[in-house]
Subunit: 321 residues, 2 copies
């Protein structure tokens, strides 16, 4: 395993921890040490990606490195946390220098973009997979939980939905699209920017928040369940990109937005009085519906009719509690 020592070189370009940014001791000892300002709490989340399950074995390593960190970091943004750092547990069948260099470049690019420092990790031999644990800080009591949505709040999302689901057949080589459409969708799939700025802006305003990973309906189900409320979504309010509409047409694009997953935009409940100020600050907030008393998630057509049964049966939606 001595060769694995070499791997460290590839990650040397990751952002270095600076004094005062929360990392008191980085890579190289038994543990890293994180320091928090008084009154702050540490937000922690772990995500694993397995080759052949979460990404194709032949995935471009630069893109994989970017996406793996973005997906993990999105959980910090969803808590309203500010980024500190991350650990990388990388399992590799062998040391392929070209692959490692590309992966490290993609990882380092996203780390710089997110201001996350690599603080430690483990490198082992085995079937390709990676586990990221990400760390952020948030003032005590100000984290955005899933459990605070209240009847009367608006239900909102922070960006267009369904692009990653639309991109998946392109990623898997099962479909093709004209260049402009493919580029736009693939960019969202491979490099979904964690919404740290929006998460910060929602502190003290949003009553519940999470990032959309399982799909809008499934994740709304998690908020409804944790908050003990019902969520009513309007089909015609779903924000859809022109690229997705061009690829799939409106009906399939709506289905992708509802059930596709991997969007990594924030979905949140917001008392209506906060909407004008947030929009004035320029945040791309789309109102999808309302929080109501009750339980579960329902989908309404343009006439206000409940059309939820028509979209049931999709795998992700079945998982909704």
């Amino acid at each position: 395993m001595g060769e694995f020592e070499l791997i460290r070189h590839y990650f040397a370009a990751a952002p270095c921890a600076q004094a005062g940014d929360g990392v008191a001791l980085g890579i190289g000892d038994d543990c890293a040490l994180l320091a928090l300002p008084a009154g702050q709490q540490l937000a922690v989340s772990t995500d694993t990606l397995v080759a052949g399950v979460h990404f194709p074995d032949a995935a471009e390593p630069f893109l994989l490195g970017q996406r793996a960190l973005a997906v993990a970091a999105s959980d910090l943004a969803a808590m309203g946390a500010e980024p500190i750092g991350f650990t990388l547990a990388l399992t590799l069948p062998s040391v392929a220098e070209g692959w490692l260099q590309g992966f490290a470049e993609g990882l380092n690019r996203m780390a710089s973009q997110c201001r996350l420092s690599l603080i430690g990790g483990d490198t082992t031999r085995g079937p390709l997979s990676l586990t990221m644990t990400v760390f952020g800080r948030v003032p005590a009591g100000q984290a955005l939980l899933r459990s605070g949505a209240r009847a009367g709040d608006l239900l909102c999302v922070g960006g267009v939905l369904g692009d990653a689901a639309g991109a998946l057949p392109l990623v898997l080589g099962q479909a093709e699209a004209v260049d402009a459409v493919a580029a736009s969708l693939l960019a969202h799939y491979w490099s979904p920017p964690p919404q740290f700025g929006l998460g910060l802006a929602l502190r003290g305003k949003a009553t519940a928040a999470m990032d959309i990973s399982d799909g809008l309906l499934a994740d709304c189900g998690h908020i409804a369940s944790a908050s003990g409320v019902a969520l009513a979504l309007e089909l015609e309010a779903l924000p859809l990109s022109n690229a997705l509409l061009a690829l799939l047409g409106r009906q399939a694009a709506q289905t992708a937005a509802l059930t596709g997953g991997d969007d990594y935009v924030l979905v949140f409940s917001l008392p209506p009085e906060h909407l004008p100020a947030l929009r004035a600050e320029g945040w791309p907030i789309h109102v999808l519906g309302q929080v109501r008393e009750g339980q579960g998630v329902c989908l309404l057509d343009a006439c206000g009719h409940d059309i939820t049964p028509a979209v049931r049966g999709y795998q992700h939606f079945r998982e909704t509690p």
Copy 2:
């Protein structure tokens, strides 16, 4: 993947986070939240174990659960940190209920023993592997690093060495031993108790410390390198268990102690004036040698002759910087 929801039940018996023990929010949201008392830093370490590489595919799941957490937690003890919690990223080829129940029981047993709360994780489908990230707290400036050893310090370990290396052929079914010997060695392999108490006792006394995972010589090499000193070890001072001596004889037992790895006892440098008080407190401290000016690690026989070249050539030792 809906069946993976079931897995949560198996870990429900893990110790629950109590208010005030550092976990402000546990499993169930986008992130866990950790709270630290003023003046404390958070210690973080990540370890991955892969089936067929770090443990046999057929390993007893209860034992695997115990050992996986113990190995990860040992890094916290080596920093002088007190335990807070851990995340578990578990990748499984399928949901085998018997396996999961055994694994969870072993994990929960060690978590209770170490006072570590399960605060989050991820469960994915794929080749069997697990990544633990462990969290502890230590007063700012009091963590035990690898870098503080000074000429004149004693070099010490916190327990017998080589038992896990002696057990490995038994674990792999490549050797047999009489019951009493096998039981003693296998206990050390499958359930090495993290030395949290000793780590705490060494705060403010030891000048450098780490836990022995790669083998005594290799890990001493890490301390020598990080501290910019030389370490001189005396062969006859190696603490060896009766079980290891019975299985291997003295010479092979010494080799196991020097190069075998997986001991998970602390190795540390200690100014001599602190030794009597620590021994009076009952800590099982064995003095192996001295810290000197210079660099590297050397091994001395009973006459003080340098016999280092005779033990070079072992894989782990080759990794020493």
